[in-house]
């Protein structure tokens, strides 16, 4: 499929500005996916926002690819309201101590998205203003969307309220 001229311009600009970080562009069912190296993710996002008007961060989510290297993937779903283009920006991080830089400085909306990704996959976003769990209890020890986590959870890992009333 042909890339739209607007997206072609974005990819060319990204290739020129971040030559060593750019990896590959894929297309799938009308969506354009650009994969970059994780090290300068904040600069790349800032560049896309400032130079190509990707002002709307629709979502950030993770995937567990369950591979031995670069196990986790983080996907940024961004939209340019000026050119009406949607772009998926992907980056990968390793299994041991997965971490990425937070893009909350670029899009404040990233705050909760990154908290959710941290909650579900355990990917630590550095320089995040408030990296707490989003859905699971604070004292929960696991990351439920990782592939090794059982569907029904780990018995006893989340406390239920006491079902016997206080004796007083």
């Amino acid at each position: 499929m042909e890339l739209s001229p607007e997206l072609q311009k974005v990819i060319d600009g990204l290739k020129d500005t971040f030559e060593s970080d750019y990896e590959v562009t894929e297309q799938y069912r009308g969506d354009t996916i650009i994969r970059v190296k994780p090290d300068h993710i904040v600069d790349i996002c800032n560049y896309l926002k400032e130079k190509h008007h990707f002002v709307y961060l629709a979502d950030i989510f993770g995937t567990d690819r369950f591979t031995s290297d670069d196990r986790f993937e983080v996907i940024y779903n961004i939209v340019s309201l000026k050119t009406q283009q949607r772009l998926f920006l992907k980056t990968r991080c390793e299994e041991e101590n997965p971490h990425l830089n937070s893009v909350t400085s670029v899009w404040p909306a990233a705050n909760w998205f990154e908290r959710e990704t941290y909650d579900m996959f355990g990917i630590v976003f550095e320089n995040h203003p408030d990296l707490r769990r989003m859905f699971m209890p604070e004292d929960f020890d696991y990351h439920p969307l990782r592939k090794e986590f059982p569907l029904l959870g780990i018995p006893g890992s989340i406390e239920l309220p006491s079902s016997t009333p206080d004796t007083e």
């Binding site: 859905f135 209890p137 059982p150 569907l151 029904l152 989340i158 239920l160 309220p161 079902s163 009333p165």
Partner: protein, 160 residues
């Protein structure tokens, strides 16, 4: 105008249990614990078409201190379970509980790590209602079952 005119100079005798049970069973005020889509059916159950006021339960109080029957409508997450239990503990005795719908009864289709597999894991449930969501008349049926239960309660058991 009421009973007095029918009785004339006479009087009625009854047992205090029967009187109390009659009063309780016809004024079982629900505590609507609407957690998900079942709550919509619970509103229909309280609304004019199904009209729960026929059974004396039209007073849906959002205050646990004024209610007798908790209707848990919808799926309950582990995080929510603590809040529900706290509300349940604030309801004055005697109190009853309806688990409305598949999710509240068993976890339903939410067979996963975040959802309690049935609110009976932390609440003493009196009536379970099947359905996803149940029709309002099914909830009425559960309420009638609870009324039956109330009417057979004894405060003092005869030891014969």
């Amino acid at each position: 105008m009421g009973l007095e005119s029918a009785l004339g100079e006479g009087y009625l005798t009854t047992r205090i249990d029967d009187l109390v049970n009659w009063a309780r069973s016809n004024a079982a005020w629900p505590m609507p614990m609407g957690l998900a889509c079942c709550a919509i059916e619970m509103m229909a159950f309280a609304g004019p078409r199904y009209d729960v006021s026929r059974f004396g339960s039209e007073v849906l109080r959002f205050s646990p201190r004024q209610s007798d029957v908790m209707i848990v409508a919808g799926w309950c997450s582990y995080k929510m379970s603590h809040a529900i239990r706290r509300i349940w503990d604030q309801m004055p005795d005697p109190k009853w509980c309806i688990a409305m719908g598949a999710c509240a009864s068993t976890g339903g289709m939410h067979r996963c790590y975040g959802v309690v597999q049935g609110v009976d894991n932390f609440l003493p449930v009196d009536a379970y209602v099947s359905g996803c969501p149940p029709r309002p008349d099914a909830v009425l049926h559960a309420l009638m079952k609870i009324q039956d239960k109330i009417r057979t309660e004894h405060s003092v058991l005869l030891d014969t």
